[in-house]
Amino acid sequence: MEALKQKAKELLQKGDVKAVLGYAVGTGNVRRPHFARTPEQVDRLVLDEKCTQNLATYLTKHEVKHLGKVAVVALPATQRALLQLVAERQLRDDAICLLAMDGTEVKVLPSGAAVEQHLALKTDAMPTADKAMIEKLMAMTREQRWAYWQQELSRCVKCYACRNSCPMCYCEHCTMDCNRPQWVPVASHALGNLEYHMVRAMHLAGRCVECGECGRACPVGIPVHLLTFFAEESTAKQFGQRAGHSTKLDYALSTFKPDDKETFIR
């Protein structure tokens, strides 16, 4: 922790970065994002096991881009999100400066290549509980799965917290806000809920970095992250590429191989 603050102050004082984005203690002892723009503000930074939010979400916002270069205290999920954002050309490669913890040591990762190298040492993303849940759902009959999702999604109030918390949902004009044509009913009833979550998962297929932020952000506790995890796994299995592993990858669904294998097209 002290090493992290030290490094953050150093970067700010040297003028390498304009701000350091990390976590601070918020109301009710929760952890909230904190932009430290002066060395004094750095003292409020904390980093412990309660810090789970994926901070990459903020980096594509206009007001953050206007700050200038920002250093980010980055968990592995945040690192993967940043790689994916660079791959999708939402951030410039040289705009990256990550502060990653490696044991008690702080590593400064100044480029996409450095992040890739650092991440290569880490194991893959999906928590075992989520993996088990997806397997459990796939073992059910289709009718049971339908009933499960209908029940879960019946609590959805379409607050769009899952969308807004997602680092990959950066579109300025989201399909959900578009009403000509109105693709998905706006009201949070059964039809609108099902279709909203289907569209969200499909738009994240091949792009989801499996941070699980959407599931944590959900105020009514719907495991919405399982949908994007599943879509991502399906893409990875069928096309052999994963989001958030490189700054060079093309989006799996905007490219193709002539010998892609499927079993259902007649």
Binding site: V184, H189, L194, H197, G206
Partner: protein, 145 residues
């Protein structure tokens, strides 16, 4: 199932192969069941998954998606892109419990008029056996007093 049930089937077909193929079915005077509503799009690459979703939303009991065989796309690669999208979308539909038996993906070329008739007949019979897509239709009214 009441005997009077006639399935409503929406077909999204590409302009260059399947639409021309369906045209050939007609000019060849081949009879086939009239449950299908054909929607022509420029290319299968245009068939967004939201179109399929919309078809069910508006009350289709089944959906056919069809275009040029691989390697035959008028725009070189539209059907390859579409194929990837369907591979993922079909998985996702299944994961969410949507009945994937009601969606048929197919390649029908401009020369396969007879095949189009056969495909439509098979799908119509299949959907007729499955009955109306009551599960999905119930969504539109669920939770609204």
């Amino acid at each position: 199932m009441t005997e009077s049930f006639e399935p409503k089937i929406t077909a999204f077909v590409c302009n260059w192969c399947t639409y021309a193929g369906a045209d050939l079915t007609g000019t060849s005077r081949i009879n086939y069941q009239s449950n299908v509503r054909v929607l022509r799009v420029p290319c299968t690459g245009r068939i967004d998954f939201m179109l399929l979703m919309k078809a069910f939303q508006k009350g289709s009991d089944g959906v056919i998606v069809s275009g040029c065989h691989p390697n035959d796309c008028h725009y070189t690669s539209g059907n390859y892109h579409a194929r990837r999208r369907w591979m993922v979308y079909k998985d996702l539909m299944d994961f969410m419990g949507v009945d994937t038996n009601r969606v048929t993906f197919s390649w029908v070329s401009a020369a396969e008029g007879a095949r189009w008739a056969q495909l439509v007949n098979e799908v119509t019979d299949n959907i007729r056996n499955l009955g109306p897509y009551a599960e999905y239709k119930a969504l539109a009214v669920a939770g609204i007093e």
